[in-house]
């Protein structure tokens, strides 16, 4: 008997004033002792709901509407509170998403360990045990005396992992454990997790949208779409030959940035609305291989080449063969996005006169603690130039000074030394670091931002038309019907057509990708010369990231914009950027054309960044 058996489990959300939403539908799977299983899916596919249902942590309006979860012979769906409480953490523990919020903010780390031991009547000295556990995750015992807000995101996540292993459970459920963490920090935690699993032998259910991580870590991978499991097979097989068109699409959105020819694909469209009844395959609307039968018959999850797949086309072996990452994959998968190296660029782009020049810029922050002052040099002697029609990527870990540079370029902050020059269309030359008042305002119309989080970058109570009308009124003096007309043009230029459908929508009525398009349209409204994109795709689903990159790439080419693309994601930098600047602790350590810097990194730090990217292909090649 397997350790965890999930049997025809369904979970439905029944909010008071909205139609019921079947988030998880008829899901069955099992996990054996010591097995590492990945659960892969995009936001809204039901993977976290499934995780919470397994832990019996669902809160209203979500509830289990069918099926059973059996853990080690105990039916969790019917177990009473006390029985459940005894089993929790002793046998089944969890680490939540690194939302920085899974530790109680008002008590010390020590107390959170003490709470856990006390609840299960573990004898012995709390400090001693907790110190041992922290050593497992390579943390110093001083952490015990800290409050959660005094720890970094990576440290908090390590504490959460140590806490999860406190009672030596048989199964650990990890829900997006490294999402939001820096790639180097993530690498550290994942390496430690793999070692601990070998040492302690616990089973893992690893829930994530990050395909690279899941495929690298897991023995077996389940792909979830629209509340159903659509594919379930060994990770190595999944890499070699994914059988569900959706799995193929996801895998197509991933590539090794170091390869000479990098191509990714994306899946057009958006996930199904689960509050409406569906007939046929849930993926049919987005599927490149859709057949007539798919629209009328709902496929079952059936055995297929040592795994399970829920696809009529695959089950009848009519799925076209595809080599992921190859040129012909694009035609088979429907849409694709080749890396910039293979894109047509205006030949003069590299020689064009720079529109923005940063020369020897440093920024020092001073902190005062009582009478002592200490200073941190966030950026040291950085120089670069942005040219029209060229994307310059600025890559580095969090804390490397990327955002400080963005604030200096947008004149939100002034550098401590060095200069920033902007050359206007008419050849006028401005010292950006000395601008004030009206001149500053005038400068800002030329330099616009695309923000990281499209969910908080738009006022939730205002329509799209209003969001776009603000910069139009402020910078172009357009109002009323003229502004509305211009807003519609902007929406169409970012691929939201027909614009009439979007103008009067509120942000919550749009998908993440659509919101990011609106944010981009708003940045384009004053007709800027320079676009600063700060991690514009990191909050978006994997399957649509390439779509936004493609949009940004097209805008740069068509409008001859200069773009500073800030990211920690080297794959996207490889795809979008013409040149790359690598920033480490405020210093530029490497720079050059993208293909050279990423394909053949010379600096040690650049190589560290590259090596930290989860790379399932390396594992497949080694195994």
């Amino acid at each position: 008997m397997a350790l965890l058996e999930v049997d025809h489990l369904s979970v439905t959300y029944t909010p008071r004033d909205q139609p019921a939403n079947r988030a998880v539908h008829d899901v069955s799977f099992h996990i054996s002792e010591g097995e590492f299983v990945g659960l892969l899916g995009e936001s809204g596919c039901g993977k976290s709901t499934l995780g919470n249902a397994v832990l019996r942590l669902l809160s209203p309006p979500a509830r289990i509407t069918g099926g059973r979860v059996t853990f080690d012979g105990v039916d969790l769906t019917t177990a009473d509170e006390e029985k459940l409480r005894e089993l929790r953490w002793v046998d089944l523990s969890t680490v939540f998403q690194s939302s920085m919020n899974s530790l109680n903010p008002v008590i010390r780390v020590h107390a959170q360990f003490a709470d856990t031991f006390a609840a299960h009547k573990v004898p012995g000295d709390v400090t001693e045990r907790a110190t041992e556990l922290l050593e497992l995750v390579a943390l110093d015992r001083r952490v015990l005396r800290a409050y959660p807000h005094e720890l970094s995101g990576g440290m908090k996540q390590r504490v959460a992992l140590a806490l999860a292993l406190a009672l030596r459970p048989k199964l650990v459920l990890l829900d997006e454990p490294t999402t939001g963490l820096d790639v180097v920090v993530q690498r550290g935690i994942l390496t430690r997790l793999a070692e601990l699993r070998r040492e302690l032998g616990f089973a893992v259910l690893f829930i994530s949208h990050d395909l690279g991580t899941v495929l690298e870590m897991a023995d077996r991978v389940m792909v979830m779409y629209g509340g159903e499991i659509v594919e379930d097979r060994r990770a190595a097989d999944m890499l070699r030959e994914p059988r569900h068109p959706y799995s193929r699409g996801l895998l197509g959105s991933y590539a090794d940035p170091r390869l000479p020819d990098v191509r990714v694909s994306y899946i057009p469209g958006r996930p199904p609305d689960l509050s409406r009844p569906h007939t046929g395959c849930l993926f049919a609307a987005r599927c490149p291989h859709v057949e007539d039968a798919c629209r009328t018959t709902h496929p079952d999850l059936l055995p297929d080449r040592h795994g399970l797949v829920r696809c009529l086309v695959a089950q009848s072996d009519r799925l076209p063969v595809v080599t992921l990452g190859s040129a012909d994959a694009a035609t088979t998968l429907g849409s694709h996005f080749p890396a910039t190296g293979t894109l047509d660029r205006p030949a003069d782009a590299a020689e064009a006169a720079p529109v923005l020049t940063v020369t020897g810029v440093s920024k020092r922050y001073t902190t005062r603690r009582g009478l002592r002052t200490s200073s941190v040099e966030a950026v040291r002697d950085v120089s670069f130039a942005l040219r029209p029609g060229v994307v310059t990527a600025l890559v580095g870990q969090s804390g490397s000074g990327k955002s400080t540079l963005a604030r200096i370029v947008t004149a939100v902050e002034r550098p401590t030394s060095g200069e920033v020059r902007f050359t206007g269309d008419d050849g006028t030359d401005v010292r950006v670091d000395r601008l004030r008042g009206a001149a500053l305002r005038d400068y800002r119309r030329h330099v616009q931002m695309v923000f990281q989080d499209p969910f908080s970058a738009l006022n939730p109570t205002r329509t799209v038309a209003y969001a776009l009308s603000r910069p139009l009124a402020n910078f172009a003096g357009l109002r009323g019907a003229a502004a509305r007309e211009r807003a519609a043009q902007l929406l169409e230029s970012v691929g939201l057509a027909p614009a009439g459908q979007f103008l009067d929508k509120l942000p919550h009525q749009l998908s993440g990708g659509q919101r990011q398009r609106v944010v981009t349209a708003r940045a384009l409204a004053p007709d800027p010369r320079v676009l600063i994109a700060d991690e514009p795709i990191s909050m978006l689903d994997v399957s649509i990231r390439a779509e936004i990159l493609e949009l940004l790439g097209d805008l740069v080419r068509d409008r001859r914009l200069a773009m500073l693309y800030i990211t920690h994601d080297l794959l996207s930098a490889r795809l979008l950027a013409d040149e790359v600047l690598v920033l480490n602790q405020g210093v530029l350590v490497e720079r050059g054309p993208t293909r050279e810097v990423i394909g053949a990194a010379r600096d040690e730090y650049t190589r560290l960044l590259l090596d930290s990217i989860p790379n399932p292909f390396a594992k497949a090649a080694a195994g």
């Binding site: 929790r88 109680n104 903010p105 299960h120 902190t367």
Partner: protein, 334 residues
Amino acid sequence: MAPVAYFVRRFLFFLGTLWAAVTLNFLIPRLQPGDPAEAIVSRLAGQSESIDPAQVQAIRVMLGTPDGNLFDQYVQYLGAVLHGDFGISYTYFPYSVTHMIGQALPWTVILVGVTQIISFVVGTLLGTWAAYRRNSRVDSVITLGSTFLGTLPFFWLALLLVYVFAITLRWFPERGGYGGGSSPGWNWLFISDAFQHSVLPAVALLITGPIGWIIGMRNNMVQSLGEDHTRLAVARGLPRRRVAITYGARIAILPNVTGFAIALGGILGGTVLVETVFNYPGMGRLLLESVSSRDYPLMQAIFLFTTIGVLVANFLADLLYGFLDPRVRKVESV
């Protein structure tokens, strides 16, 4: 940052605000048009008759109206405030303002202070209970019940109490702080008499007092029970009650602590409505009388007292908050 530095910073901030409040209290009346001495004389004499300069001068001398330039007055004023000297009351001449406030203050502090503390404790407990049993019958009764009581006008409730328990049933005296038979002092007769008199106003305050705390506590706690760290505590197998107290109530109470401190500070201003309805000899009634008889020194002193009360209470809340919420001790980077 060491907690000591946090407390030192809060204290300096407190001193700064206090100085600003005292200064404003000095400036605002002097920026108003008109001469208080002339106002008194014309009120005494009636509008029709002309004002005798000698009379005005006499009143000035009697009231001790200051002379010298504004800065000298300010220095004198600061010195007087430090000594607790607020001058002489116009209406209760020859009693000093300090004496009048000293008479009224204990009545208010005891009545309102005690009921505020009880309201806070009861309200917080009921709110916690409602959140703990969210969406149950207990929650509905507590939440709907307190919302209903909160919509009733306070003065109407108070009058109802007077009508039923004082006039109809004659269980309690209907007005005043103590009866004619006793005189203030530490004797049993007076204390039991004062207690009898305070029951009805206290009940009136206690009916409406906890409502804000109940609603605030319940909503905060429902939110903190939905946080990830609370769900993780449940997943860790912590007993339900422990989760509710350490992870739910412990965090939910924080905003209420600030609210409570401000409410305690406001006591010094009195509760005008309740003291008027019950004709209770506290600060609220004193304030009302000083306003209606234009007793400027008394008014000014009461305002100053109220401000200082709120400031001190806020300062204490800050200190308490420093202990309750480690996050606020964090250094603010420049």
